[in-house]
Subunit: 310 residues, 2 copies
């Protein structure tokens, strides 16, 4: 009989490596090879945006996918997977910094702390976001030989597409343009596929790439990533309605306040919850199809995303 | 006796290829492989920022460096060099969009047209800049086999370092922090090395990488790039004082207005001009040292940068 998977212990182990790596890589000495140092004030804003907060779901997905395809290797100890995990988190962090700015959501609270533009000023928030985005690509392309050129190229390709105009940035633009509009379910789904789904899906595919997964496994993991990515947004919409700001660590009820279309406004609360469960089943099916041996971390992460209450 | 180099004819030929490539690559179908399209409104802002304007100095430097190291190949016809040239231009374009925003320079005129945030709103300008930055990395990492994995990785490495917190974004942060301050010449030079120099230098090194240059030639071209990059900024400061807005295509005198330290405020007009000439001599020396055969395009571009009157 298989031993029950201890998600909590697994997460603690992986997160220690991720936090340490982010602390090391988001630093004044980020690019020692160029002979130039990042200015301290910019780096302070970047570190504030990235360190000491965040659930690190995206890095965990990268590492779990890497472990699933590489048969028991430890993600936290793999330098390629760890770089990919941190690169995705930098993209996520930059998107939050820019999304919170006055010209976007104008939000003052994030992870229970003042947002970057409140703490460092709007101009520094803009620059810190810009610098975090490009630092992700620096992390993926180190001089030293631990990451092969082929993996560097593939990872940059996957990440740039997921973050770009036909991915996350495109989704943000659709979101911005749909304030006050009524969207169909298909339109809402398309918006979220780009806005949050593309990057979450890229996490899984990047993790698979770090472990040199075969085509069939990569395709199944892509489906898993799509289902989890969409479920994440459905649950986020549910939480925005039912949780308070203190539990959430960010301003609650802001979607309704901002007249943004959500799964709850479209489907109602109960149907939105049922839809999240359906997506979880789709994610599990995809894992079964993957043909991979140990997918328990990926299974548990999907369950955590979908069953979280805050 | 060698035939005189016709810079103008060379530029017309190269620019036609660059404009066509940008028009093709900055489009709704930018990422057909993902099955997703960029939203039309975001793409409109991105195209407005990139197309139909700009001197394209950076792409020209990439193509000239490629031609110098690859002994007579046509840069405009080389798919690797053309991608690198356009990628650098996208980084430049994004930096202008964000730099013009109200929280930064709050500029309303660029290349003789309303700035992106004036035309499309501040939130769309933010997103368009974000999307242009990451599109640069998409251009460098195509699926198809024209760019080797090794070149993709090297080009992403060079570009991300040049644009990042120890490069362009870092320089912007220093610039922002030094408004109203008196900088020493060393501090001003360091600011501009990061803010504009790093990317201009990267152009030349990326072009050399596209042509698989040897180490000695690359090192010499790096020195050329550093001198031209610094000279560019010195001349920019001179022009900000002596030209009017109509000739310049952007708001003139804005550095003094914004209390920004410049080479003119530090050295005075005549010494700043002399310094630009000295840097031109350094650039020419570096080309001689490079051991490359035909460096006439690089020579002519340096002369154009430094002797331009507008």
């Amino acid at each position: 009989m298989p031993v029950a998977f201890d998600l909590s212990a697994w997460m603690i182990h992986q997160l220690a490596a991720v936090e340490h790596a982010l602390d090391t890589w988001v630093s004044v000495d980020a690019s020692p090879e160029t002979g130039h140092h990042a200015p301290a004030e910019l780096m302070a804003a970047m570190r504030y945006a990235v360190l000491d907060g965040g659930k690190r779901l995206r890095p965990l997905l990268v590492l779990a996918a890497f472990e699933a395809v590489s048969g028991g290797s430890d993600g936290a100890s793999n330098p390629v997977a760890l770089r990919a995990a941190c690169a995705v988190e930098l993209i996520h962090a930059y998107s939050l910094v820019h999304d919170d700015m006055p010209c976007m959501d104008n939000d003052v609270l994030r992870r229970g702390k003042p947002t970057v533009h409140v703490e460092f000023g709007v101009a520094n928030a803009l620059l810190a976001g810009d610098a975090l985005q490009v630092l992700a690509f620096e992390l993926l392309t180190p001089d030293v030989g631990v990451v092969s050129a082929s993996q560097q190229a593939q990872l940059c390709r996957l990440l740039s597409r997921a973050a770009g105009c036909a991915g996350m940035a495109g989704g943000q633009a659709i979101d911005l343009a749909s304030v006050g509009l009524t969207l169909s379910e298909a339109q809402l789904r398309q918006m979220h596929r780009l806005k949050t789904g593309a990057l979450l899906q890229a996490c899984v595919v990047m993790g698979a790439t770090c472990g040199n997964a075969n085509t069939a496994a990569t395709a199944a993991l892509k489906d898993y990533g799509a289902a989890v990515g969409l479920a994440f947004q459905v649950v986020d919409d549910v939480l925005d309605v039912i949780a308070d700001s203190e539990t959430l660590g960010k301003t609650a009820g802001k979607d309704a306040h901002n007249e943004k279309p959500t799964y709850v406004s479209l489907m109602g609360l109960e149907r939105a919850r049922a839809y999240a469960c359906e997506l979880q089943a789709q994610a599990m099916d995809a894992l079964t199809r993957s043909g991979l041996g140990d997918v328990r971390a990926l299974e548990s992460l999907a369950a955590m995303v979908i069953q979280r209450t805050c």
